[in-house]
Amino acid sequence: MQTLVQLIVMVFGICTLVFFLIRLIPGDPATAMLGDYATPQAIAALRADLGLDQPLLVQYGRFLGHAVTGDLGASVVTGQPALDQILDSLPASAALALSGLAIAVLLGVPLGIVTARRAGSWTDTLVMIGGLLGISFPVFWLGLVSVLLLAHEIHLFPALGAASSDDLLDQLQHLALPALVLGVSTAAYIARLTRSAMLEALMQEHIRVARAMGVPERRVVYHLALRNAMIPILAIIGVTFALSLGSAILVEAVFSRPGLGSTILKGILARDYQLVQAGVLVLALAVVVVNSLIDVAYLAVDPRLRRA
């Protein structure tokens, strides 16, 4: 019940914030749409048609009234329901975010564990320098370099990150390179975080006791330490996934992929208020859902939380 109330308050807050923030940007949909052929009459007529001539609070009330019924309005550019357009771009974003995250976890967590176990060794230093580079290089740069290298020089992957057919294999082939780029760049974060969480866990009293009692090292690391370190690791995984749903926009731009981030950006540039509102709302809901799932996962890895 408490979660539900929290959710409602949050969604309401986000709706309000987005509604007013987008209207703070200079420029309005009517001038953006009429462009070079604008006349004062045409601008006034279009503004009236879009309801932009009404006081802001009236517009806000109208927006909230419709939003409650699930109607987020129609895009001013295309005339199509804004929510439909956003939901259409969600699968592509989810596919990229999920596959990117899978690569990041498969790469980052083991590297983090290995380096924590051999803290101070050559392996540790090398991996951590690699990780630092991964964090430091912007993802669009990694994307461009990988296109030049893996799509242009060696024809390993297609240069375009979105398939033109419904064929699953074709789609996976196009997804591979963007997912790899997104995955590698987030793997660096996950590796560094896993390492420090593991280091902390390995220094705990009970680990020392377990080692002194002769518990096998494998069991110490993977059963006793890792389970304790899992909480912060899960948290960063959740945040990473939610972020990459909307912020994979640079990867989407480099690889010409559709997605939530690109759709919202398109909305912002065209002052397509409805599209931006629907996009940010969906994104916020996705973050909430993912965080709830992570909460459930906490319970699974840490029995202590179940009692609380």
Binding site: P26, D28, T31, G35, A38, H152, L160, S164, T263
Partner: protein, 511 residues
Amino acid sequence: MIARRDVARLLGLGAAAAALGTSSAARAAPTGTMRVRIASDIGNLDPARIFQIENQTVAGNIYNGLVKYDQATNKIVPDLATGYEISEGGKVYTFTLRPGVTWHKNYGEFTADDVRFSIERVKNPATNSAYSGQLTSIQSVEAPDKLTVRIMLSRPDPGILQKLTAFNQGWMVSRRALEAIGEQRYPLQPVGTGPFSFERWTPGSEVRLRANPTYFEGAPKVDTLVFRLIRDETAAAIALQNGEIDVFYALQQPEVITQLKAAKGITILQRAANHTNNLVLNMTVKPLDDIRVRQAIAYGINRQAILDGFFKGTRAFGYSVLTPSFPEYTEDVPKYPYDPDKAKALLKAAGADGFSLDLYGVAANPYDKLTVPIASDLNGVGIKANIKILERGAYLQARSKGDIPTCVTGVVGPPDPDSPLITLFAKQSFPPGLNTAHYTGIEDLLAKLGDTQAADARLAIYHEILAKTMTDLPAIPIYAENLFLAHGPNVEGLVQNSLFTVQLYSTSLKA
């Protein structure tokens, strides 16, 4: 009542059309998928509200007009009309329509009523068409029978044919289709009479068109057109070289053009575009109201160096706002060769040396970067130039207000001389329109143009207008745009037009 017969001028194409109609059966069935890069997503394919070259490119393959521009020569030739007659006094245009033309998706036969509907719809204020101003001289449209359209003008307007040519408001829509689909959903469910019909839009990814097997000039040669959204030019160039796309039109970056020119199997086509990019000077702000200051700016910008260095020789010199793609083009206008000393002297004479000037531009290629060499040249003659690049929405708002001192802009449009001239220089285009110069110097010449029917007399007036604008300098043409189109080894028969679009009806794919 009808005095002058222009049917002959249209080469009696009715008969030719009939012949073409029968030849469609002999043409091979459309095959293959042609993939064309678009730089930004489409959003609205309704001719009354269409804007942006991506929308116009897709729409150009779906719709027809009464008449159209010949892709190669820009001459106005028959399209849905087989001919037209102009009444004495030039106030009534009577079009004869091509028989047996059908709308896509079983919306029935194309008739004179559709023409009336299309024109009235653009003029109707409720449509919110950006192009209603283009058709102001049209008073009413009559459809006496299925294949005859009579357009009545409130005043003689020899330029009206250009406005009814297949582009933007000139594209014809179906009354039945619009009524069935509805205004709300029509922008992405367009219905035309053209060589391709709309199939599907995948937002953020691609647009698919399918060959119209019953097209009145015969079925197209390719079966499917896919317009793929690839924002980045470098990525598009790689995709073209990898064979992931076939056609890459409206190339902009000199580096990409040079790279593709050297690439194996890639053909580059080039022709003059219909616009120049200009530094528009607001003649109502001090000291730009002084002609000597505007002349100083013109002399002070090294335009040849911009062509050589900034554009690496890919663009052409701009003599006025018209380019060689217009029949009205002339180079016989006042010229301002780079002369920094003369510029300094003029500024001094005007008492304006050392004044500060804001250069406004939109944050889009090439306007954003182009302001840099301009500012640097102006600083060289003692004008403190500040670069103000704004994001598109903010830029349009600033420009609409009309108080910006300068802006770097061009009018991308059809090869209709009125398009740049009226849009940039007529009083009717004062802000929020594009005449941010607030220029009023050619109003009498424009009025004279409206009263003149004879082609050579009109040409002389256009030349006079160009000379006048280059004397008064409401805008300084920085360069004339060139269009570049690259295509892969399998593409045949592609004719590049002078618009920023690509027409794929004549194109085929090698097996």
